[in-house]
Amino acid sequence: MERTYISTIPGRINLSMKEFFLTMQDFFLFSLRAFITIPKIRRYWRDFLDQAKIAGADSLPIVLVSSVAIGALLAVEVGNLLEDFGAKTMLGRSTALSVIRELGPLIMGLMLSARYGSRNGAELGAMKISEQIDALRAFGTDPVAKLVMPRLVAALIVFIPLTAIADFSGLYSAALLAEHYHKIDPGIFWNAVFPRLVFKDFVVGFLKAPVFAIIITLVSCFNGFIAQGGTAGVGRSTIKGIVVSSGLILVANFYVSKLVLENM
């Protein structure tokens, strides 16, 4: 059989690289389109409200459960460590910094990537496979403006209060554990939290919410839009959306913290 260039290892690497850069180009143009169409939000306000409910109110239980669990775990583990140094009263301070700067937004981001991102990927992927996205284009409606932009705006708006809720519930569960497990007076715990938190701590935490909103929405929707290969293809694109957005959230979490802490 004839051995073509494509079947050789350099040929396959070349093809993969070409596909990767073409996908990146498509993703960039797709993202740009999503932002450019934001002025059309008044036209799609019903879609925006639907998505705000899905991303916000409907996601509240998973955000609460995960942030309460993380807050409680931090209180137990960090409290044990501080006890060894006789610094148990610093538990409020260390928990607050961890939750507000890092773990509150990060856990919320990962949970929303799994919940909101997977829903976007599966729903849009199914629409792509059943030609509903082609139908939108064929009848003169911009599918990015109709399907992606309201999701993006909804996520940008509701992820901020969700972060606040995640932070507060995480801290509150830590305070409860501090009181009942480490026998730290709540007054001492909260006194170590609020007077010592500075503006920079909130900027680090709350800046992550819109960054994660952009990553989760655009990555998951893009993967839905390029789904192909029937129902198995929808599954593949959904998984890809979650894996890529979760990875990007972890990377972005590090860089947002680094940039803000170094420059404020």
């Binding site: 030609e131 509903q132 284009r137 064929a138 009848f139 003169g140 409606t141």
Partner: protein, 244 residues
């Protein structure tokens, strides 16, 4: 009028269409006949500008759409209605919402006029009483009629059918073909049908183009198909339903 001039389309190294030229006239029903997977549906997507050819021109009323941006294509697409093979109805919307969706999206009509047009299409499709049903609760034939109604609701100049009777039972197929034939009575409406079922062509099409191995091997009036000596056409005339 729709004209495809020397269209070539490749996916990677695979050539789907090779130098295809085709004309679909206004007020006529044109069929594109060919085996499954030969690129018939691709022709419809090219006409709508959903995909672009590697070379060649696609003229819609004299405008070459291969040179247009996506936003410039929207007004051109509104001249045409399409009925997808899988219908592509919005499964979260009721039948009347599906029918009215693009009117509300793209035309600034009064709600009264929108409702009038929706009611007109529901009556045309014979779906009275199903206005509030979801597509999942309808039979295949009923979904197809809703999809035809959705394509007609804009009063397009041309309607494109992708395998209109594929997967339907004989009774539903007959109803759909009857519905397509009745479109002849609508003024200024042309249609293009891609199909692999030769009986559909003889029942509704004024002219037919046969697509085989990426090329048009026949393009003339439907009645003249029997005169063709091409071996593939001779074989399909005896087999009736094409399989590759």
């Amino acid at each position: 009028m729709i004209e495809l001039q020397d269209i070539t389309l490749r996916y990677g190294t695979r050539e789907i269409l090779n130098n295809v030229s085709l004309t679909i006239e206004d007020n006529k029903i044109k069929a594109v006949l060919g085996p499954s997977g030969v690129g018939k549906s691709t022709i419809l997507k090219l006409i709508l500008g959903l995909i672009k050819p590697n070379c060649g021109k696609i003229l819609i009323d004299g405008i070459d759409i291969t040179q247009l941006k996506e936003s410039q294509l929207y007004p051109i697409r509104r001249k045409m209605g399409i009925v997808f093979q899988g219908n592509a109805l919005f499964d979260s919307m009721s039948i009347s919402e599906n029918l009215g969706f693009f009117l509300r999206e793209n035309l600034k009509l009064s709600e009264k006029e929108t409702e009038r047009r929706v009611a007109e299409q529901i009556a045309f499709a014979g779906l009275e009483g199903y206005e509030d049903s979801l597509p999942e609760n309808l039979s295949g034939g009923m979904k197809k009629r809703v999809a035809i109604g959705r394509a007609l609701i804009f009063n397009p100049k041309m309607i494109l059918f992708d395998e209109p009777t594929a997967g339907l039972d004989p009774v539903s197929s007959k109803k759909i073909l009857g519905l397509i034939s009745s479109l002849r009575n609508k003024s200024d409406l042309g249609a293009a049908i891609v199909t692999h079922i030769i009986d559909d062509v003889f029942q509704v099409a004024d002219s037919v183009a046969v697509l085989y191995q990426g090329k048009i091997i026949f393009d003339d009036e439907t009645g003249k198909l029997h005169d063709s000596t091409h071996p593939f056409i001779q074989s399909i005339l005896s087999d009736k339903i094409l399989e590759q």
